[in-house]
């Protein structure tokens, strides 16, 4: 039983959608409330390595994809969750479990306006401290880049 089957088995009741893109890339959809328990399972029990998280501004909400690497099998397991409330996107922090997630949560907070509940040090990472509030560069329609969709 390789790790992806264990994940499928253990998360069975939490998975909304399971997608095998190819033998090395898996995408799993979950609801935002489950993120802490899923992270605990992947990080503490299966000892996967946290690579990074991607925040995406979609039409129907803000999407966060947490990428985990299974270095034994060379697979990347991506946990996808959608925050439907675009006005005030919120999710629990995983930086209490994974120290390496502290910076990326700060980055997503300033660039996309996602609030991470319980983050110990939620302040600007890349942008200046006097950056105007409510201006999130990675949201669609900001600055250069794509205006629609």
């Amino acid at each position: 039983m390789n790790s992806i089957e264990i994940i499928k088995d253990k998360l069975s009741n939490k998975i909304i959608k399971f997608e095998k893109k190819n033998s090395k890339r898996y995408y799993i959809d979950i609801i935002p409330e489950d993120i802490v328990s899923v992270t605990k399972m992947l990080w503490s029990e299966l000892e996967l390595r946290f690579i990074i998280a991607t925040g995406i501004d979609r039409r129907d909400g803000i999407e966060i994809i947490y990428h985990f690497s299974d270095d034994k099998y060379g697979t990347v397991v991506s946990i996808r969750t959608l925050l439907a409330n675009k006005e005030k996107p919120e999710i629990d922090t995983i930086s209490k479990i994974i120290k390496g997630a502290e910076w990326i949560e700060r980055e997503m907070w300033e660039l996309l306006g996602i609030n991470f509940n319980g983050h110990p040090n939620l302040k600007h990472l890349l942008l200046n401290e006097d950056w105007p509030e409510g201006n999130y560069p990675l949201r669609q329609g900001q600055g250069e880049g794509r205006k629609d969709d």
Binding site: D71, W103, R146
Partner: protein
């Protein structure tokens, strides 16, 4: 004087500082000689590349991400093309795979030599610095011979590479690689057997395995702490599973292990390049590009083991000719954060070396430029810090003499 009465002093390093290749701000809190805490401020090199990539078409993005880093200019396009190929399910020709690996490993050679030079300078071994930067030119010569450029080679292309390595040129490249072996042997001897370097780097700036895992560090920083990871072996791409080589892993996590790993890795790189050149001889010339016209809808993840560790690119496409989202994670992003642990409890004369030991690359970390006019005051007293470090070596050298 009891501990409580000790005065805490802040030593600022940066944002502009000679020991850093790029602008960054470390605030060291020291009590006497000892570093007790540290704050890291980044953001001085933020250029908004992730956002820019959304306004460029797929082929342009390869050139854009090449500009993320000046030292490892090939690693971002490498991971980017891997991501787009993962997205679309392209299988590139074996010739292109070999050429990609040759470029990737040459880059590791010149990047490690650059780091070795800087590390030598910090501890006062300026001869090591001059030598290693002199011999780094040999690697750049090979780059010039293959790609026409000494930096920013522009070789990576979705579906293959931009230029072929002609078979008639291979003996010349092999000869140029052979010339590097005595150089690497010299460095190996100079660093591994020198009692002063041992005294300066062993048990200095230790990053234990469990802390390294916690900070999710990658590359030589992780391997020095005994974490056996290397994307080239774990998730093979390009020609890394077609040639024979091995991953170098340390166990102590100190500055010495980080240096030793980089030096030994250079020998492996030469081995990979030779294997790839041998493979190239058997492949038909000219078959190095798929001539991709269209990128389908979907998402893809690409990874590449850059000189500093794993580079991660995520690309999402819709029906257009531009990425809908392009996420980039450079290795220094996770490695720099671990400095906080490694530097606490050490003396200030070692701090410069420890901060440099992860081979930080800030342009990569931030990928984005915001200049703060308020903070433009001069905080630098960095020459003093390097001088302090060099004086310590001088003292040790006299002791060992």
């Amino acid at each position: 004087m009891t501990d409580k009465n000790k005065k805490r002093t802040i030593i600022p390093i940066g944002p502009y500082h000679p020991l850093q290749e790029e602008a960054e701000f470390f605030k060291l809190y020291v009590e006497g000689e000892k570093v007790v805490d540290m704050d890291i401020e980044i953001g001085y090199m933020h250029r908004g590349i992730e956002k820019l990539s959304e306004s460029m078409h797929y082929d342009q993005s390869a050139f854009l991400v090449e500009r993320i880093c000046g030292i490892c200019s090939n690693s971002h396009p490498f991971a980017y093309v891997n991501a787009v190929e993962d997205l679309a399910g392209f299988e590139i020709s074996i010739r292109a795979k070999y050429i990609r690996s040759v470029i990737g490993e040459l880059e590791r050679l010149h990047s490690h030599l650059l780091w070795l030079g800087l590390a030598g300078h910090f501890i006062g071994y300026n001869t090591v610095w001059m030598w290693s930067w002199k011999y780094r030119e040999l690697v750049n010569d090979i780059f010039e011979f293959i790609t026409g450029n000494r930096q920013h080679y522009g070789m990576m292309k979705i579906g293959g590479v931009r230029r072929d390595i002609e078979n008639k040129d291979i003996p010349q490249i092999e000869k140029m690689c052979d010339n590097l072996i005595p150089v690497l042997n010299m460095f190996k001897g100079a660093v591994m057997d020198d009692p002063v370097i041992h005294a300066r780097t062993k048990n200095v700036g230790i990053l234990p395995k469990n802390v390294a895992i916690d900070y999710c560090v990658v590359g030589p920083t992780a391997r020095a702490s005994g974490i056996d990871i290397d994307v080239r072996r774990d998730d093979p791409y390009a020609a890394y599973n077609l040639v024979d080589w091995k991953v170098i892993v340390g166990k102590n996590g100190d500055v010495f292990d980080k240096a030793a790993i980089r030096i030994l890795e250079m020998f492996e790189s030469i081995k990979i390049i030779r294997g790839c050149l041998n493979g190239l001889k058997k492949e038909p010339e000219g078959n190095f590009d798929l001539k991709v016209k269209e990128i389908p809808v979907g998402e893809g993840i690409g990874r590449h083991e850059a000189p500093r560790g794993e580079v991660f690119h995520y690309v999402k496409s819709d029906k257009t000719n531009r990425p809908a989202r392009h996420k980039i994670r450079a290795p220094s992003y996770v490695n720099i954060a671990s400095n906080k642990y490694a530097v606490i409890g050490q003396t200030i004369s070692d701090a410069a070396l420890i901060l440099a030991a992860v081979d930080p690359c800030y342009c990569c970390t931030e990928r984005v430029t915001v200049i703060d006019k308020r903070k433009n005051k001069i905080l630098m007293n960095g020459f003093d810090l390097i001088k302090l470090s060099q004086e310590k070596t001088e003292k040790l050298r006299k002791k060992h003499a």
